[in-house]
Symmetry: C2
Subunit: 558 residues, 2 copies
Amino acid sequence: MTAVKHMKWWGWGRDGVGFHHEDKPGFAPFVLNAVGLDLATATPVEEPAFDELTVPASTIGEALRTSLVSIVGEEYATTDDLVRVIHTYGKSLRDLVRIRANSIERAPDIVVYPADEKEVQAVVDAAVAADAVIIPFGGGSNIAGSLEPRAGESRVVISLDLGRLDRLIEIDADSGLARIQAGAQGPDLEEQLNARGWTIGHFPDSFTHSTLGGWVATRSSGMQSDKYGDIADITRGLRVVRPGGVLVLRPLPSTSSGPSIREMILGSEGRLGVITEVTVQVHRKPAKRDVYAYFFPTFEAGIRAMQDISESDAAPSITRISDAPETGFSLATSKDRKGFDKFLAGTVLPGLMRSKGWDLEKICLSFIGYEGSVPHAKRQKKLVDSIVKKHGGMGVGTGPGILYDQKKFDTPYLRDFLLDRGAAGDVSETAAPWSKLIQVHDNTIAAAQAAYNQLGIKGWIMSHMSHSYHSGACLYFTFAFVFGDDPLGEYDVVKKAIQQAFVDNGGTISHHHGVGREHSPWLEEDISPEGVAVMGALFGGADPGSNLNPGKIIGAGY
Amino acid sequence: MTAVKHMKWWGWGRDGVGFHHEDKPGFAPFVLNAVGLDLATATPVEEPAFDELTVPASTIGEALRTSLVSIVGEEYATTDDLVRVIHTYGKSLRDLVRIRANSIERAPDIVVYPADEKEVQAVVDAAVAADAVIIPFGGGSNIAGSLEPRAGESRVVISLDLGRLDRLIEIDADSGLARIQAGAQGPDLEEQLNARGWTIGHFPDSFTHSTLGGWVATRSSGMQSDKYGDIADITRGLRVVRPGGVLVLRPLPSTSSGPSIREMILGSEGRLGVITEVTVQVHRKPAKRDVYAYFFPTFEAGIRAMQDISESDAAPSITRISDAPETGFSLATSKDRKGFDKFLAGTVLPGLMRSKGWDLEKICLSFIGYEGSVPHAKRQKKLVDSIVKKHGGMGVGTGPGILYDQKKFDTPYLRDFLLDRGAAGDVSETAAPWSKLIQVHDNTIAAAQAAYNQLGIKGWIMSHMSHSYHSGACLYFTFAFVFGDDPLGEYDVVKKAIQQAFVDNGGTISHHHGVGREHSPWLEEDISPEGVAVMGALFGGADPGSNLNPGKIIGAGY
């Protein structure tokens, strides 16, 4: 293997790191109640053994292999089974179930690690000349099925790993712009920026293992996007290797040069070329950054408060509110019994809530962040506090926010923990106008429950509003259930019910995870058949030989 | 003619309205000095007579004409020469020179005014079935050559006027979204919104005569876009009639559904279909709205201040600074000699500036706007004032801002005034990162001067920064000169020098006027040949018969 860091072939994150609940006494009872899984008796499966995996043999011929080796060097063009398996899937629930079930229909035939843009260009040109398929690969954290080769792909499939393109090239300090190679993973690029006093301000849940190029290719959003913008706002300049040449978009603050090519590359999941460089907006690290917690008596009251904040003169960096089930989950899984948790577990806060007539089963936890100069952050908080008060909410300080900050990147490990014990845990998110948000929330919960009922199982679903905009917000759902005899069949019933509820109620099929194969069946309902036709015209015209990650975004679902 | 309002066939605005300078004593001396035009002796040409115009005969056959009449009605499908001439060009300098010179190579063969989306669909389908060309027409204010039929177009050309689709359909008050028909002109839609307490916050210079659909089709930007966003930000939902069906994008605050179809329609200038409805972000009318004036000792100091403001916690609604030549122009052409102007024309302010060591030939006038609640506006001003002070600027109150507000939509009339007297007055704008802004400014001025020298004429060019963003800003240039024997030849030399300077120095070819034919020769230098190839793939795939406004954006320039 190369120096490029990869996640476990069978799960999230690095070897040896995982979720555990020994220090979270409320977790096991919560899980038992939520999905009927008894952690005291559930025996986790052993870590899967790579030797037992059936890996399709590489179909690459010697001519193309030699050609690729001549471009990147022997060390960086490998048909090694482990490396090919790592590059077969992303880390969706479906991906992890399949890899654990020894289900690999089609693996890439070769994985190449070009050193620079010139090598990327040579690989792409050689691949197209040989009518091979190119699938760009960043951190491998994708959960929309954007990385896997088509099952029946008869041509050679090349996984093009951008891992060696991980440098911060330059900072234009006057303009607040940083030119960064697309293969840089979150912590690497943020460290390089921090060392010079800057931040990109983009922190998706996958931050520790995802790349800048991957964020652009899937239209990522991060935890502080309310302040810094989604990756579509942050991205200013681009370099994209296409067959025959590099598409270059110089960094511009705004332009009216026709349909936006920048916005075509954003979300293109490899179908228009290989992103090699991104020039992004960066910011001086703020003097002040605080995340405050608030409680609301109901989800509706909290959403109304968030809507009022979005209309107001206040500009917080984070606006987030969990519904009652997710609030219950947060309280049950917190590990710090000293500070806030003790306070909440005690009698003072619940007593105060009861005295206000609140139903403790309906309370909702909210996090609101403030960033900037000290007086700016203070003023934002003052504006927000008055809106929270107007909607009957109460502030409870920074304690829970600190905990939120500490564990914000740990969630994906929980999925592997549940899979080890025969249970599914997954996420789906949408965005909708404010006027439809409660409807989307309630009907999605109801659709998931109906799916659980149809399957005759006890399932769980919870949600939070994670980002707000002038005209609406993102709702992020987490759902879980114990598998029966047909894990993927059961998963499909639940996942499809959730996605269908999104589009039926005015929401989009994904706010920040892209389309891939997972969400493509709903694309027509999201952007209309004519919208899909226009997108298909773009893909067909820009990649007439279907060499660039075919079958993604538009194509067969699962 | 129909009830749809049109501008003069030969110039800007309504009949009987024009620029005059009787109440601007500084104007004539300024013009004499700037371009050598003596207004005391220059005899304006007579208003052109329509009867003397040579209008190419309509080539439409009876079958298609009958078909179109059956869709929209006899009254709304006309081959009348005056109506066809009104729909032949936009209002660019090139357009006005040509129409005044009796130069119409190709006029549309018929103008149709559909009543609703259903009729638009029927017109588009009938046109495509007959292999005709469709050119959507809004207010006709375009200055990029987006509206004219190709000179050699052998097929029937239909100008599809959206003027009857001018209604505010509904407001989603919870979400701050308004659904508006694409043919609504600025004042009409803003009045309909104001009547219900809302504003769109979009005020381009062309506001009084341009339409919502036109703004979207050309990626418009307005005077308060720093606060409300460019039209690309404001636009949330779209309905676009394409051959065979309507492309529908529901209003969404954000989405990751692949390459953005919304951003493909934005700036598409009719090449992907006919925009019939736009759902836009709207805002409650602010409690406070003020425009303050400031002076800076130099343009560089002012630009550094604007850059600092963009990095700061302040969020003004307008940031604008004129360079020294434009400041001189503003001071010379003001008509109010009572308030601020008298003050400035007197001795106090110049004396104060001299006492600070300022060179009065280099001073730059800036306007900064504040909108929102009273305390918010006050706080923004306080933050800005301290940045202005840091860069050696001084505030001079709201007087000039009130004048700016009053005359902000009058500028286009000046072009006709100059043309009447044998002189050109035109605009070109770009956007670039902050680090390149002074370079773009200075080199564009130098390029225009070199062009004037090459032509052996005395020309004028001035500029202001009109919008600022995190990473850069828009520079808006106005230039003028007295025509010699070859008006368009001379214009081309100057215009080309300016556009070339934009791309050579890191700027884009247009910040908010689109590409059309006027800017298409520089598109490859702006978005790279591969970028143009991808855009061409989109147009080719989405409009295989080239029925939708062919030759615009990508195609021959002039």
